[in-house]
Amino acid sequence: MVAHLLSLRFRLMLNGIRRSPMVLVSTILGALWGLFILVGLIIGMVALAFAEPQWAWITAVLGGALAVLGWVIVPVLFRGMDQSLSVEKLRTFPIPPQRLLVALLVVGLLGVPGIVTAIVGLATTLSWLREPVALIAAPFAAALGVLICIAASRAFESIGAALAAGRRYREVMGVIVFIPLILLGPIIALAGSSLSSISGDLPRIAAIVSWTPLGAAWSIPGDLALGRPLEALAKAGIALATLALLILLWRRSLATLLVSPPTAGSGAKRSKGLGPFNWYPATPTGAVAARTTVYWLRDPRYGGSLVVLPALAILAVFVAVTGSEWFLLLLGPIFAATLAITLCAEVSYDGTAFASHLSTGVSGVADRAGRVITLGIISVPLVTIATVVPQIVLGRSADIPALLGIGYGLLLTGFGVSSVASARFLLPVPAAGESPFKTPPGSSFTSQISMLATWAVVFALSIPELVLGAISLIGGQMIFGVAALVVGVVLGSVLMVVGIRAGGALLDRRGPELLTSLRRARGA
């Protein structure tokens, strides 16, 4: 049975890879990259053997604790990332929970992340090459640690499965939990700058973590090497108890999941009236604008694309505080450049629901214009605030016209260019209802190239206002800044209208082909 599920798992993985050559290539590239990191880690472990044993211990405890944490958090974040062998699919088969548990544990261990964790975990043994007692204990401790990783992951996943049955809960969580992750960059930057002050505390942090279920298993060989056999014994006890408790918890939730499927759709959201449909004029364009407004409010995939903006703002403030103001100065244009191409993904977000645009025969121009209107209402104020506020705070109000000119120019030009681009090619996006941050299958090289190309075109078409703005910023002459603002708005608007027209015509012509590729993208 265990072997059976395992072979099923590998069969699913292989078939997934074989679907297209692009997926195969990107899988191989990813695997090579992973292998590269793996080799680096192993060399690091060997190097640690020649450092003080204290450091090998700290590395093992903190790294191990992070691994356990990662195993718990990542599956909760990316719900549905690997559902190929989810309990829901196995429920119909007569498998006793006991054996299913063992099978899922083994399957988890022999997946790609499991194998990597196991190799790295066992590689910690190498850092004890000069400590015979620790060298003998290390593989057993590592095995215990890896098992805790997988058991914790599975236990929290199946407990979470019952919790996450409500759609709304899932969607909100999907966005919220990502905010700290996006802010991870600034946090690491912050931590990096003050690492010297933290490094003195690392031994203490490791000492505390080593007594928690997260780090206990990983601490055992180090404690032995550093001459603390009693502590090692106590931590082995903690680790074993953790594993036992996790398996017990998992077993119980698995047993409930097997007999009582979590029911979805309870507490359906109700709303009165037509909402945004009353705000816009009763035309096809207005209807598209109203519909995309509803989606910006309700579909986490749309709002999720904005999460990067506060992260950028915080990063800009952080960089400004630590010395360099250029990031904060350019925040408005950076917002504009980011927002300008969000439109590219819209038809892909529609998915096969785009068929309703096609079957009602709504004109491509109305489709394009409606989407631009909504994005414009959202992004023009954002760009304005992100430009004006920093300049006032920095006391550089004279630069406002130049930067606004660049920002509006990029934004409006971007609307035009992405109106054409999104009628031309589709981006692989998560389907409606999936986690907004899920990496969909086939997010390949080509789509990234086409995004970059879109960006390049936007910048190339904005060269006039970019040059005028740059002259004003460097030379300090406001007259060029005003010129940049005028050129940015006028040229940008012209390009936007041209883009909407051209994109609309393209959509009228290519609509059925676009729907066919949307169907294919959804495997329908």
């Binding site: 759609r167 759709g265 359906a268 959201k269 109700r270 709303s271 009165k272 009236g273 037509l274 909402g275 449909f277 009763a282 035309t283 096809p284 207005g286 209807a287 598209v288 109203a290 519909r291 509803v294 989606y295 309700r298 579909d299 529609d350 998915g351 096969t352 629901a353 068929a355 309703s356 645009h357 096609l358 079957s359 009602t360 025969g361 709504v362 004109s363 409606a432 209802g433 009228d508 059925p512 082909e513 729907l515 066919t516 169907r519 959804r522 329908a524």
Partner: protein, 270 residues
């Protein structure tokens, strides 16, 4: 709701079709996906004012044919006319004449039911008052009034079919193309939908439905076409096609592939 009350609120199509022009005329239609030929030189004529059933085994090309007839999928060859208008030449006019319920495509399901029907009405270029009036009528007619403020994503499968039908009806099309409209709809709702469709046909409209349920088609449709492997196997009035037998027997006879055995021995428990 009684049938008498139901009939008048169906958005009635204008009855001004020139005599003799079929609601749908398909000539030499072809479509292949890579190596696989989905529709192979298909001819089909659906008379105006008929209640037309389209039946065929899985993969016969029903959905492909209907997609091409409604402007959702470009044919490799052949012509399609809706009430005399070429679908692939005068696309916008043809689409304004047709209401579509597609199988296997998503709806904008983050809208409420009321918003979704309104959306379809406005996309068709109707004014706000007409859309509001018809949305209200259709929700009442399809017994979705109480669910009008619920997001479509939270609807059951049957309710989703009904709201999709409302979207197809809102612009009062002359031809209604319904791909599997009764799939996963409960019997009561299905009976209500049948009444609505019958009323629509009496009012001068034409309905094409594809279905797997032979019984349903035999009772409901006055015309029927049988499609197999992308070709037309039989077409005509329901009585002509079934030729004295039941539609189901005739279908199996035309399509073939029926296996006369009782399955492997181990499946027989006694």
């Amino acid at each position: 709701m009684t049938e008498e009350a139901a009939t008048p609120v169906v958005p009635a199509p204008a009855t001004s079709s020139p005599a003799g022009v079929p609601a749908l005329r398909i000539r030499g239609l072809r479509k292949s996906f890579g190596q696989k030929v989905a529709v192979d030189d298909l001819d089909l004529e659906v008379p105006a004012g008929s209640f037309y059933g389209l039946v065929g085994p899985n993969g016969a090309g029903k959905t492909t044919t209907l997609s091409m007839a409604t402007g959702l999928l470009r044919p490799d060859a052949g012509t399609i006319e809706v009430l005399g208008t070429d679908v692939w030449r005068d696309t916008v006019k043809a689409k304004s004449l047709v209401g579509v319920l597609s199988d296997g495509v998503a709806l904008f399901d983050r809208l409420t039911g009321e918003q979704l029907v309104t959306y379809h009405g406005l996309l068709n270029g109707m004014d706000r008052e007409t859309v509001a009036q018809r949305t209200n009528d259709l929700l009442e007619l399809l017994d979705l009034k109480s669910a009008g403020g619920t997001l479509v994503v939270d609807y059951s499968a049957g309710m989703t079919k009904k709201i999709a039908l409302a979207c197809a009806l809102v612009h009062a099309p002359r031809l209604l193309v319904l791909d599997e409209p009764f799939e996963s709809v409960d019997p009561v709702s299905a009976a209500n939908i049948r009444d609505i469709l019958a009323g629509y046909v009496r009012g001068g409209g034409t309905v094409i439905v594809s279905s797997h349920s032979m019984d349903l088609v035999q009772r409901m449709c006055d015309h029927v076409a049988v499609i197999g492997a992308g070709r037309l196997l039989a077409a005509g009035t329901t009585d002509e096609v079934r030729a004295g037998s039941t539609l189901e027997d005739r279908f199996v006879e035309l399509v073939g592939g029926r296996q006369h055995n009782e399955g492997p021995a181990w499946l027989r428990t006694s």
